[in-house]
């Protein structure tokens, strides 16, 4: 099925980022967070679209929530998202400010030393953009399959688009959604980072995800099967005010058993991926930033 991207409001502007920077410079990280608590409250009152998306996720994740619980948990979601955007900016102007603990570093290093490329599957749970900073120093070239950021303020200040000679981008707006170029660079031994929960218009499959059927794109899994390369699922959790936990332990090997029903064969690998997301969100329920309704049974 085709998964339609819903048109979203642009949030954040240069003036807002200027205020957060001011609070950070004057009162440190807690100062910036203090401002965030007020801004998040504004979004709680007035950003109905974000509230709708938050409600869909929260009712799936927690079940049996009343009106008040949904509001409180939506606020916590907005605060977590804001904190990770602030952290992203702080880590750009003050490199080394945050500690990163790596899980699965040894096996990841081995894969990086191998001539074979692989797919790094990222998601809108935790801060994948902050995690990407850690990839500037690895031996392999890294390519991000993503659209350019449309919000120019965020693009300039938070550098959400790749800016390093080692980290390049591939646009999904080309032949077969950029898959041809993805195959080209994988063959050259590069790492290709793809969003596992954002389709960019690509075909999706419906799989179980938190008590409902949700749509996830399957192209990463098909490429892995064709190219016989591994998928490493990256999650990045904020575990304390100045520490992130990057988990690279989870990898998926995709293999077709014959030609028939390839899409159906991919379903079990997608389910492995959504299991990883579910486990992450069981532990860090407010670090889900899928502000998009991916569940089939909830129409917004």
């Amino acid at each position: 099925m085709k998964h339609k991207e819903k048109k979203k409001k642009k949030r954040g502007n240069a003036l807002g980022i200027w205020f957060f920077t001011l609070f950070f410079r004057v009162a440190g990280l807690n100062g910036a967070y203090f401002l965030l608590y007020l801004v998040a409250f504004y979004y709680l009152l007035f950003d109905l679209q974000s509230l709708q998306f938050a409600k869909v996720y929260l009712t799936k994740r927690f079940k049996d929530l009343n009106f008040f619980s949904i509001k409180v948990k939506s606020y916590l979601l907005f605060v977590q998202l804001g904190k990770q955007l602030i952290d992203r900016y702080v880590s750009l102007i003050k490199p080394g400010f945050f500690d990163f603990e790596l899980k699965g570093a040894d096996s990841f290093s081995l894969m990086c030393n191998d001539s074979q490329g692989f797919i790094l599957l990222t998601s809108h749970v935790g801060s994948w953009q902050t995690a990407m900073q850690g990839f500037k120093d690895i031996k392999k070239e890294v390519y991000l399959l993503k659209l350019g950021e449309e919000n120019l303020s965020l693009k300039d200040k938070l550098k959400v688009d790749p800016d390093s000679a080692k980290i390049k981008s591939i646009s999904p707006k080309q032949f077969l959604g950029g898959i041809v170029e993805v195959i080209n660079v994988l063959k050259k031994g590069a790492i290709v980072s793809m969003m596992g929960d954002r389709s960019y218009g690509a075909d999706c499959l419906d799989v179980d995800f938190f008590n409902g059927e949700a749509s996830f794109p399957y192209s990463a899994f098909h490429i892995a099967a064709v190219e016989k390369c591994k998928i490493v699922v990256l999650t990045c959790a904020k575990v304390s005010s100045r520490k992130y936990l990057l988990n690279l332990e989870n990898s998926i090997t995709v293999e077709y058993q014959g030609r028939k029903n390839k899409k159906e064969q991919l379903r079990k690998y997608l389910r492995q991926y959504t299991n990883i997301l579910e486990n992450f969100l069981e532990e860090y329920p407010y670090q889900c930033f899928i502000f998009d309704n991916i569940w089939k049974d909830d129409k917004l």
């Binding site: 080309q174 032949f175 077969l176 041809v180 192209s219 064709v226 030609r259 899409k263």
Partner: protein, 89 residues
């Protein structure tokens, strides 16, 4: 270009597609040179297109880079063979 070579290339490509995509109950001779590879012709889909792109790269070192080029090349065995033949020589 020698016609016989071109015919051989088409046969080779047909066999490559049949083997590479695990097409069952079909022989190279069953494939019509002008038949569409996708949709109502051979019935391949976007998943298969990715595999053909990979097969071309692996076997002939040929890269297909843009959408319009891909659409045209994949329209039939004839167009695919013509493209491969031009890049091979």
């Amino acid at each position: 270009m020698i016609d016989q070579d071109f015919l051989e290339l088409k046969k080779e490509l047909k066999q490559l597609i049949i083997d590479g995509l695990f097409l069952e109950d079909i022989e190279a001779d069953d494939l019509n040179d002008d038949e569409s590879l996708f949709g109502e012709g051979l019935g391949l889909d976007s998943l298969d297109a990715v595999e053909i792109v990979s097969l071309l790269q692996r076997n002939y070192g040929i890269e297909i880079k843009n959408m319009e080029q891909g659409k045209e090349i994949f329209s039939s065995i004839n167009t695919l063979a013509k493209y491969v033949n031009e890049r091979k020589n």
